[in-house]
């Protein structure tokens, strides 16, 4: 009998535990639902926000390397000091993890109020899904948008509205080279592809790798391809292909692929590039150790290399991607992004006006000055830099008749992934240019038909 009592007792206890667990769950639920209802009610009555109640904002970015991390923190601190009713929770994350985290946050409506994103494909997706705030009225107020380089505003424009604020950097891809090595072998900065190839041949003869490349990352190799296609077919070849008024089987893509493969066959690139990782610096090591002479990279190269190897910077020179003889493209056109880190405001934000003010502090005069000191070119008009290498970047952008956004950001995620993997295959000589173009065209057609 005793045992039975014991058993029932323990059973009751267990039952109580389960119930309490369940209760816990439901308790949480009611709490969270009450908080969301509070959120919606406060969103409905923005007047209470305006009256000076404390507002808490969240901000996500990916500037994890110093001094950028503390710069952004300082910008935001200035904002909260001038606007004491706001407090901002700033969180910095690693690039790759960020992409996934942001996506999940947006889909579950738990996105931060202010967040950085790329323009192009991803931004358009957020707009179509009604996840970010239309910033046109804010940008047009007092002609604030005129502060920015036109190409930057163009890049943040979709469906005739402005959705993001260009903030971080003007990043265009150009060649960075070792001046010492060029002097040693009596080489001139090449103006055309023929001259570039001659430079490469001389370097090769002397046991120096012409181009350092880490192409596990895929977008690195894509830079060579984009420039070649741009120089051969002009900016419109790609734009038309992407907009489906043209074709990825256009002659210019085929020629670009063919030249690339010639370069690979001539061993212009370091060995094993398809297995090396750009993010962990496996291509830059080749430059630092003077095993390689040149690299085609976004201009963030300057701040990255300065952070990694200050001594090396005295040897670095830069030149724009050379012209292709007989190509339709303008030799001054650049591939890159004017803005590189565009800040958006999530639709779930309770106080977009305040959030926009916070963003403005990240690109006000003080912030700009600090960005220049950190080796960046802020995407604003009339920016003045003293460093000749930064001046080169700025010149390239200002001279450029067109700025081609990186293909992998311009295209929809699916097509962009195909572009990256097929370019890697081109470099690996496992697919011919014709095959690659055919695959791209087929996928683009398929996606266009779906929509």
């Amino acid at each position: 009998m005793k045992k039975v009592i014991g058993k029932t007792l323990s059973a009751a206890l267990a039952l109580a535990m389960t119930v309490s667990i369940a209760a816990c769950g439901s308790g949480n639920q009611s709490e969270s639902s009450s908080s969301t209802s509070a959120a919606s009610s406060s969103a409905a009555t923005t007047s209470s926000v305006a009256s000076g109640d404390p507002v808490k904002l969240t901000l996500w970015h990916i500037q994890t390397t110093e001094p950028m991390t503390s710069n952004i923190k300082a910008d935001i601190d200035r904002f909260t000091k001038d606007n004491p009713k706001y407090s901002v929770d700033v969180e910095a994350m690693q690039n790759d993890a960020y992409k996934t985290k942001l996506k999940i946050a947006l889909s579950s409506n738990t996105a931060p109020d202010i967040f950085f994103s790329w323009t192009g494909g991803p931004m358009n997706e957020y707009v179509d899904a009604d996840k970010i705030v239309d910033l046109t009225p804010f940008m047009e107020k007092d002609n604030y948008k005129d502060r920015f380089m036109d190409a930057g505003i163009n890049q943040a424009t979709y469906k005739d509205k402005i959705w993001g604020v260009p903030v971080e950097n003007t990043s265009v891809a150009m060649f960075f080279y070792n001046k010492d090595l060029f002097a040693k072998y009596n080489l001139q900065v090449p103006k055309t592809i023929k001259e570039l190839e001659a430079v490469c041949d001389t370097l090769k003869k002397n046991g120096i790798i012409p181009f350092s490349l880490a192409n596990k990352t895929q977008w690195t190799g894509s830079m060579y391809y984009m420039y070649l296609a741009n120089r051969i077919g002009g900016a419109d070849a790609f734009k038309n292909a992407a907009a489906r008024t043209g074709s990825f089987e256009d002659e210019s893509f085929k020629q670009a692929g063919t030249i690339l493969q010639e370069w690979v066959k001539k061993d212009y690139f370091n060995k094993g590039f398809n297995g090396l990782d750009e993010d962990s610096g496996q291509s830059r090591t080749l430059l630092y150790t003077e095993k390689a002479a040149m690299t085609l990279m976004g201009s963030w190269f300057l701040s990255t290399a300065a952070g990694e190897n200050k001594d090396f910077m005295s040897k670095v020179g830069s030149f724009p991607f050379p012209a292709v003889e007989g190509g339709k493209g303008e030799p001054d056109a650049v591939v890159g992004t004017v803005g590189d880190n565009f800040y958006h405001i999530a639709k779930t934000c309770k106080d977009p006006e305040g959030a926009f003010k916070a963003i403005q502090y990240m690109i006000d005069d003080t912030a700009i000055q600090k960005r220049i000191e950190a080796g960046r070119v802020p995407p604003v008009k009339g920016v003045k830099v003293s460093d000749p290498l930064l001046q080169n970047v700025l010149d390239a952008v200002q001279k450029a008749p067109s700025v081609q956004l990186w293909y992998d950001q311009y295209l929809s995620p699916e097509l962009s992934d195909l572009h990256k993997s097929t370019t890697q295959a081109l470099f690996g000589l496992s697919k011919t240019p014709e095959q690659v173009d055919k695959e791209m065209e087929a996928k683009a057609k398929e996606l266009a038909e779906k929509n």
Partner: protein, 300 residues
Amino acid sequence: MQATRSLSEYRKKSTFIATTVFLLPVFFFILIFIIYPIIDSFWLSLHEWNGITSGKTFLGLENWKTLMGDKIFFKAFLNNMIIVVLSIAIQLPIAMAIAFLLDTGGKKLNFLKMIYFLPMLMSSVAIGFLFKYTYDPQFGLISAVDTMLGGEGMIDVLGDPRRAIFGVIAVVCWQFVPFYMVYFLAALSSLPVEIYEASIIDGASYGQYFWKVALPSMKGTIKSAAILSLVGSLKYFDLIYVMTQGGPDGATELMATYMYKNAFTIGKMGYGAAVASGMFIIITVISLVTLRVINGKEEA
């Protein structure tokens, strides 16, 4: 008579109730964290969803049809099978050899036990980074050793589509041999000492003891190790993703990396879910069949 029977029945009943009540919380957790996600991902696989919009479009079996004809998925599956076969063929014998050595070596080899176990203590991501540099054709260890031996160096492992998968498998083996070593070591040391002493008295050598006595009595352990290795290899992800991201040109693409790419990189959540569900079915079927085959032999 009747009284006792009803009492035993009563007891049975109360035991049943008690067990049910005790198991209920666990059942809830399994339901929420295992059963529900599986069903939900099957459900998701019938939709088109980019992971951002609030609405999902119902597609029916469209994703599954695509999956059936997807060459990349098929190639990924083949890569998984290569890993399964090589993992079992390489990891288990090496682990067994080390385990036997350590077991017969006695206490003086205890420090080796520690050293051999080290790879297991590192995170896969760290191992991935470590070997990314080891395999570097210019500065890596492999190339350096080759130059020392008089070769040209510049050995490209991860960038060469033909070699990449084997380069990665070598690292996977390096990582998991210690696990099976410990597994076998435990089995070896749980063999009765009497058997060992008896075979020594009967004049058996170490080799004979191993092949004729220890190995046969460890059949069960080896089987479960093989199953573990099989399932692990079929759903392998982290190390390969860190080292190659499935590249170059899909040479090291696995079902799991392909799933991740579709769901989170490209943003085809529905198709990613279809790949995941396909994986779930394939792994379940292969595991069940293998279990059947292995256990069937035992009964015969």
